[in-house]
């Protein structure tokens, strides 16, 4: 639970900031895109962890907020391009959910650049790699989330 993140020992604090990023990727496009990056050995930043869902429409505001509450510095939600969704309009619904999430993140006072909704297709390995690098860079620039208790 969030508690776990709260009581953390200070030892790590000296280290340079490496962000914790949670990436929700849909099974059919984005997760496959991340695999494609692998198949083509496209090196990119390791500072993210993928959680696979069947569809980006599955990703609720709660998942994203939970991640931040637990100490994430950034959250990426990634699905299929419009017209390419395995479930026809799942990604359109992801947009609706994400708008809600983004509004809440904003009101909470977290920098809205800490959350991202992106489309990556199964063929777009390079795009995935670039996206990750760019996002990690951005979050690193933003520094630790105020809720990243590890850095307390």
């Amino acid at each position: 639970m969030a508690k776990s993140a709260e009581k953390t020992k200070k030892s790590k604090s000296k280290k340079v900031f490496t962000p914790n990023i949670v990436a929700f990727a849909c099974n059919w496009c984005s997760y496959a895109g991340a695999d494609a990056a692998g198949v083509n050995r496209l090196q990119h930043s390791p500072n993210f962890r993928i959680i696979r869902t069947m569809c980006s429409g599955r990703v609720t505001p709660a998942f994203v907020l939970k991640a931040f509450n637990a100490g994430a510095d950034g959250v990426l939600v990634s699905g299929c391009h419009f017209g390419d969704c395995h479930y026809i309009f799942g990604n359109h619904k992801a947009v609706e959910q994400f708008d809600k999430t983004k509004a809440l993140v904003k009101t909470l006072g977290l920098d809205e650049r800490r959350v991202r909704l992106e489309w990556v297709s199964a063929a777009e390995g390079p795009r995935w790699a670039e996206l990750i690098n760019e996002f990690v860079e951005q979050i690193t620039a933003l520094g630790p989330s105020p809720l990243n208790h590890k850095k307390k």
């Binding site: 991340a34 083509n40 390791p46």
Partner: protein
Amino acid sequence: MDAGRHPNIEVLTNSELTGLNGRAGNFRAQVRKHPRYVKEDRCTGCGQCVEDCPVVVPNEFEVGMGGRKAIYTPFAQAVPNTYIIDKDHCLNEEFLVCSNCATNCDRDAIFFDDKGEDVEIEVGAVILATGFEVYDTSAISSYGYGLYDNVLTNMELERVLNASGPTQGHIVRPSDHKPPKKIAFIQCVGSRGEGGEAGCEYCSRFCCMNAIKDCMLFKQHEPDIEELVVYYIDMRAAGKGFEEFYQRSFDMPEIKYVRGRPSKITEDPETMDLIVQVENGETGEIYHHRVDMAILSAGAVAPKSNEKLAEVLGIELDGNGFFSLDTKYGSPLHTSKEGVFVCGCAAGVNDISDSVAMASGAAAEAEGYAAKLRVEEEPVEIKELDMSGPPRIGVFLCHCGINIAGVLDVEGLKDSVANLPGVAYVENNMFLCADEGQRMMQEKIIEHNLNRVVAAACTPRTHEPIFQDSCEQIGLNPYLFEMVNVRDQCSWVHTNHPETATDKAKDLIRMGVAKARHLQPLYRSKINITQSVLVIGGGVAGMRAALDLDAQGFKVYLIEKQGRLGGMLNHLTKVYPANLSAVDLARTMVEKMKSSRVEVMTSTELNSISGFIGNFDVSTTNGDFKVGAIILATGAETYKPVDEFGYGEYDNVITNIELEGILHEAKDKIEIRGGVPETVVFIQCVGSRDPEKNAGCSRYCCPTTIKQAVRLRENGVNVVVLHRDMRTVGAKSEEHYRHARALGVKFVRYTPERLPKVIGNGKKANNVEILELALNRLLEIPTDYIVLATGMVPNQTSNSHLHEILKIPQGADGFFMERHAKLGPVETTTEGVFLAGCVSGPRDIADSIAQGSAAAAKVACFIAKDKVTLDPTTCTVDQTLCRACGQCVEICDYLAPSLTMISPGVMAAQINQALCKGCGTCASWCPTGAISSLHFTDEQINSMIDALFEEQKV
């Protein structure tokens, strides 16, 4: 590509047919399996062998760009992913013994003295899907392909644009690897009679759309591109959604379309820039267009191998080297030998969606000869392990040779896992997916009575099914298995940071284990299927579908609201390409229907349909019945002109359909409305390619006009066709177009900005006024008849009625939407409901027939079994939590959830497992958490998030 894994498919790659004897229903085929030098049952596709192979040769798959080793797989994720040795380049010969691959291979899969194998197979039917080859553009010297570095073919461009291609999707011009700013596309290279020996008469059909697509991709990849010029003769955006796509490209100012075919391309030796010499067909000016890169839209040609194959099969090829059709079988998919069918580009050039439809169609017809051969799937009884009690998780870490172990500290991982809560056993393995690996896993599961399994290996997308099968084989519920991706998404992409990569792997495994703690066994349920089908609509598509299904021995009901079968055919005279008489075609099909067991109900309307895949209750004005699947073949309507071009005002302005009727009646000499025509003017695209009316191209009108023009011309009538682009893309229609011109039919182009003007007095039109673009002069064409080539529009009333009943999404154009524009042309989002013919968009007779067969094949996929197995990873409702707020009902595109009364005055949602696809979107909307998305529950996902950040504790 699940063809690789389907139990009923044996894939023989690197093989070819060497002989075929016997007759339809009982062929004996000899197949030669060429040596691969790598044992398929040992190779895991790990790729270690490639490392030290000293030979590098150009990669065919990358059309020569980029290289490969002598031992290789053609491309990533190839099926099978078994490697192969290219003997012509391999150094392993008696005199020069390199065996690096063999030494590197931990699975000793390398087998240098492989001799290949000859197999004989009994088959009921044969389907030819040999595809096409790209026209060799070097044959046209004037474009300097092969001479100038910066002249590429469209296929080469595809690879350059492709993210996984040789340049990782970065577009650079070969000569200096700078991003190009100006690009010219040259259309019809090798098609439409271009150039010398190899230039073919036909239109390659896909090149126009492909050029448009590539232009858009170009723009996407390189936003600051300056210009993309497409040099064309006619832009042939003929296909569902194609014209709209073409229109969309107009929003990108960089993309220009210039009518004109370049005479030659020369290279500026200084800059390596190219100079394209061309006349602008509209302005008449000649320019020397300097570009950084030129793309030749190379056409498609028949594979050389077709000749040998035709010989082996004893069938004929057409003039172009494609397999020729024999119309006596009343099918556009049948070759001259009974039981041998052809589909896709083996029959001539087709685009993807048509190829897919033809393929399914061919399958349906082949089943006619193979229906008796259906294999029985005998259910295997496995005793379930005891999975109760607290989680006892087994974690298996795959080294995948050096792919994982070469980067990650696998021992460290093992230690990190050992004391995670719930973990009862951990083991590392060299190749977990190999037979031994799997056997070891199975033994350990039993030995340590594990009730959850986590494999940290490659990607679930390729290997989860394999591991799940292994669990199932020993009675462990496959849904108690969880896979962690530490190769594709970790060791392969963080190779240079072994430490951080290992940390990441630890996190990922911890997350996987956390999820595993919350996994629940899930069971695949089966529902019974009514093995019968309803076909709605008695046109060609509907009849074809009905006949194919009948031939396979299925019960078929066909309802038609008209008094007789035939649909559009009844209004036509001749049917291109083969110029069959529509009447004869209709007659033969209706005869076949009569002699079949199909239950035909004419003058019958549909009242209602309820139920779901495999179990539809149909109610018609002619009685009720149960079916397992439904085919919509209700066709479309032709556009009714509203006062366009004087239609309705002048008596001598008629539509092409009206003319069709007249030609149909006409005996020796043609009379139109009592008069004998001297001159007839056709006006194309009436009600088509017009955002106001019907944005799409109706596709059938150009070939139809050609057909009618030829008929008139042969009767001495002067014919002038006013068009925007002649889109004669169907089989043989380009050839007919030439024929028409040869006969003296005149063609004048107009643009939507300057529509032709019809001038007349009283009830008669006398002249058509049009601006001839090339001459830039106003032409006045005196004529006694004007024929409007009207497009095809959806049958609004019947479509909305069907939409009401079946809830199938309709596109913006009002036609029904197919499941996937390319890969599912006859399927819908509703399982068990299919589309055939013009109900999903304008089509000609041949394509409609092919679609009818395709729909039949898809139906057979369902009702060939008496039960359908449902994937259990769906969404379910805990009705005690449900508030019946109905948001799930609104959100679902598959109509799976619905609200029902569970006790007096108490509503709750329920989800139809047969309709649910398991996307979990409803679960994310459910306010109370009543809906859980099985295998991806809130609990499971939350536990992963918690586990990820646990590491920060203490």
